[in-house]
Amino acid sequence: EPEVTQTPSHQVTQMGQEVILRCVPISNHLYFYWYRQILGQKVEFLVSFYNNEISEKSEIFDDQFSVERPDGSNFTLKIRSTKLEDSAMYFCASSTTGLPGYTFGSGTRLTVV
């Protein structure tokens, strides 16, 4: 069964540093998403991406965040200057047109120290 792949599984970074979280969505999927889950809290929508542009973003997704699909396979989330409160699990997801329900990756645990 096809999977959404995320790397790394765990990343530790110093406050103020830039991080890039990487995702390889399922190959024939067209919609891409990032979600995050702060420890003990619910899964929160960050951003959706379609046709090489952001289609929707939440209030969490401020100027510190950006997404990119640099080539035909990767989908990245960049946090420009990390803060302690950015520590969370970040989930990538993808879906194909007309099929509701996402396929999630296994997540990247980001720890900002």
Binding site: V43, G101, G105, S106
Partner: protein
């Protein structure tokens, strides 16, 4: 605005007992509703979607538009059902809003 409410953070039942995880939503349009499950240290997995009216691992969920609910039910809980369960609402394929989740513990 769309909102998903899961009133119970924790739910504990004994093996073999029926289980119901509650989910209520608010949305002015026609929602698409889902249940996701997250086993310990694993990824979120789609469990059910209301449009397919399927039963997965013995779980079912019926959309009740009058009560704006989408409760997840299983007649006989198993220990391997212990996990976090998230109800989610999608208004299109652009974003999905999750409830806070319910941690189900099935005791032997």
């Amino acid at each position: 605005a769309q909102r998903v409410t899961q009133p119970e953070k924790l739910l504990s039942v004994f093996k073999g007992a029926p289980v119901e995880l509650k989910c209520n939503y608010s949305y002015s349009g026609s929602p698409e509703l889902f249940w996701y499950v997250q086993y310990s240290r694993q990824r979120l997995q789609l469990l059910l979607r209301h449009i397919s009216r399927e039963s997965i691992k013995g779980f079912t969920a019926d959309l009740n538009k009058g009560e704006t609910s989408f409760h997840l039910k299983k007649p006989f809980a198993q220990e391997e059902d212990s996990a976090m369960y998230y109800c989610a609402l999608s208004r299109n394929n652009n974003d999905m809003r999750f409830g806070a989740g319910t941690r189900l513990t099935v005791k032997p």
